[in-house]
Subunit: 243 residues, 2 copies
């Protein structure tokens, strides 16, 4: 099937900027009117492209991050742009012990999970962990990106309990939005996957936020290159399986 | 100011049922079409009432709970019903050591916070903890309900780190939705508060989910009585200060 409408959900402006520039996207003034979320639109070889960010908190002027903002951004994006595919592009922490290096770009593999949603009632554990399936990114194998299960939580740190759950769930990337984007996309029956660039190694012993800030430019440059390659792939391969 | 449009956000159907019955609300078939969220509407002495629940997960048939579902429910409710006041009604865990008893009904006091959103970058801690102000519930003092700061997290359990943060934040009630409802309401500049009935005492040593199920009927009965009293108060007091 030919994909001609893709929407990127990107949490922070610093993550989105290189991609907005590379794709020459233009801000959509009618997106999310009155709300902090922002939308940009453009076109690449017949594919209509949209990109949505969470925007900034009015009081602190910090970027809105986390699963609540991602939920709202994704809902607004799906309502307005009606994409055939949602791609959550962003940065993430990787694990040295699983072979991740700073700047690596991963595609989400198999499913997206929560590592900090714990409801220990029989039958509710898996429900609370999400386990949202992702679109079959194996079709993008020729791009030579890495593959991993993405695990989402609402915190930058990683206490022991979270670390144990990430490993039990097979998580290779730790970040703060993907499962929420996946959930809202699933409600609308729109295929979803992630592309995530590694800003920090959560098992390096270094403070995550220092590594994050140090490597943000490198990671977002790699991220925007990978996103462009993905769009080119969709443009050149009209026989993609959406389901 | 006279309040004539109130919307209740209630996570689970079991929490909402007694209130829907007591207020003779009727399901709104056009609410959240295609999504799991459900809406009910009705009227009480000139006040237009709406109630929204998260609905059920299609795959597991479990109620949707947590902050992501609450974010989406609140956004859909605000878009469709344009209330003057959002009330998050539900159940919560209380603390014995702070005087809570099973079945107690609390109004939210001062602010709503997150106890499991940790971003330890200078300037980001408070941003990630929410600290969303609540409407001045002191105006409802004549109802003789209890008052407390409501603290939200994505888990039913309470590891030591969460417990410490709840106490640091002055939390008297632990639950799973309020901060998200508060945040979305704040984006729309709609006043917000919580009314929460205690199903379990998180420091009792008993398993939370057993206490929760045991006391759910008692707590939701008390909750629906308190909600009716609140509505009656608004109907009889046209000089409420909304800001």
């Amino acid at each position: 099937m030919c994909i001609d409408r893709i929407t990127f959900i990107v949490a922070m402006e610093a993550e989105a900027r290189p991609l907005i520039r590379k794709l020459s996207l233009v801000e959509d003034e009618f997106f999310g009117v009155g709300l902090p979320m922002r939308g940009w639109t453009g076109e690449y070889e017949g594919i209509s492209l949209c990109l949505v960010t969470n925007g900034k908190d009015r009081a602190t002027t910090h970027d809105l991050i986390g699963t609540e903002a991602a939920t709202l951004s994704t809902q607004l994006a799906l309502e307005r742009y009606r994409p055939q595919m949602v791609i959550n592009a962003g940065t993430a922490g990787g694990f040295m012990q699983k072979g991740a290096r700073i700047g690596d770009v991963y595609l989400s593999h198999r499913e997206v999970v929560y590592h900090d949603h714990r409801v220990d009632i029989p039958g509710w554990e898996a429900h609370s962990e999400g386990h949202y399936p992702v679109w079959d990114t194996g079709q993008l194998q020729s791009l030579h990106l890495k593959y991993g299960v993405v695990s989402t939580g609402s915190s930058l740190d990683m206490p022991e309990g979270d670390e144990k759950r990430i490993h039990r769930l097979g998580g290779e990337l730790k970040e703060m939005e993907a499962a929420a984007v996946a959930w809202v996309s699933s409600l609308h029956a729109v295929p979803f996957f992630c592309v995530k660039a590694v800003t920090d190694l959560v098992d390096s012993g270094k403070p995550t936020h220092e590594e994050f800030l140090q490597n943000l430019k490198l990671a977002t440059d790699h991220l925007s290159e990978a996103c462009l390659e993905i769009i080119q792939f969709f443009a050149q391969n009209p026989n993609i399986r959406l389901k």
